[in-house]
Symmetry: C2
Amino acid sequence: MNKGNKTQYAILGVLSIQPMCGYEIRKAMDTSIKYFWQESNGQLYPTLANLAKNKLVTVEKQAIGKKNRKVYSITTLGKNKLKDWLVQSTEYYPARNELVLKLFFGQNVPAKVSIKHLKKHSERCEAALKIYREIEAQLVAEIKQKIRPVYFLLAVKAGVKAVEAELDWCRESITLINKYT
Amino acid sequence: MNKGNKTQYAILGVLSIQPMCGYEIRKAMDTSIKYFWQESNGQLYPTLANLAKNKLVTVEKQAIGKKNRKVYSITTLGKNKLKDWLVQSTEYYPARNELVLKLFFGQNVPAKVSIKHLKKHSERCEAALKIYREIEAQLVAEIKQKIRPVYFLLAVKAGVKAVEAELDWCRESITLINKYT
DNA sequence: CATAGCATGTAAACAGTTACATGATTAT
DNA sequence: ATAATCATGTAACTGTTTACATGCTATG
């Protein structure tokens, strides 16, 4: 009961920003949040229905022509549930990392294989960093003008720092492999 | 077919170091590998049985008194399967991060809540860093004496770099919250 | 003699993705 | 016309954890 079903909190959190329909929640998650949280449709819609059943959100059906949207709004009950989760401290599980796992077993393949993985990962990190930096600059400007709360920036900065560290690690690792194989 | 069932590769990888029984694989995973890869018993034993069925490992039953161990060894077929996976490039999925998700929704709770989370996370990172640094020092010494291949060090360094970056992020984030709330 | 560690495993529940199904609307 | 986007959802599958079940052996 303490864990699991974090999907509901991710949804409640998104709805705490503004009321949205399922599709919009999906989009919101596929843009900003996707760098640190992902949900699939197969999770989203059933969870949304469940939240409504438990009165944590309300549903308002909007019919534009024959197009049917369901706009979800967070209720007071939902906000309290979200807050309860927000104040709870998180547990720290180091995440699975397939690249590190592969490198760990690197003695089974030629050194160039591991170096290739590291170079490819560097490229991915550079690309991600570029995107993060753009979002970061945008957010900094908006925070200074008091349009945005600072919290979105923290999330982006987490990405920036993580990717910078990975780039650093890739460079060092290539040097180490070249030195010790 | 391209993805999934990475458990088998983690096991094959561990067995590429030396033959072990299930319990020892478990222990090996619960020590070194756990920082970037975790497996539970519910995954380990059925996968091990499956690897044996597919001739990727062999089983040798050792009876010490009434205590029964099954010692698993990787076969040539298993080594090839492992190598095939090792040379394949990994996909880059940013991992889920509950702490960042919580901070992202920080405007729903007082600033001190988010700061508390960040301080607690700093402490966890400091503790992890201490452990990583000890392992790192040990490995560096062993690599210089050519006892160990360099690849274990890379994995530890990934942890060191990641945790250092998180510490940095925690410090900056606290400053930002204090400044902009 | 009790507890921790060695040793193997299973069943049920839960988490999560993928692929599919359906249909309207807008832009090219 | 047709492709992209809006919009909602389900079913089947896979992955993963948790909790349990069993029993031996060494140590304090």
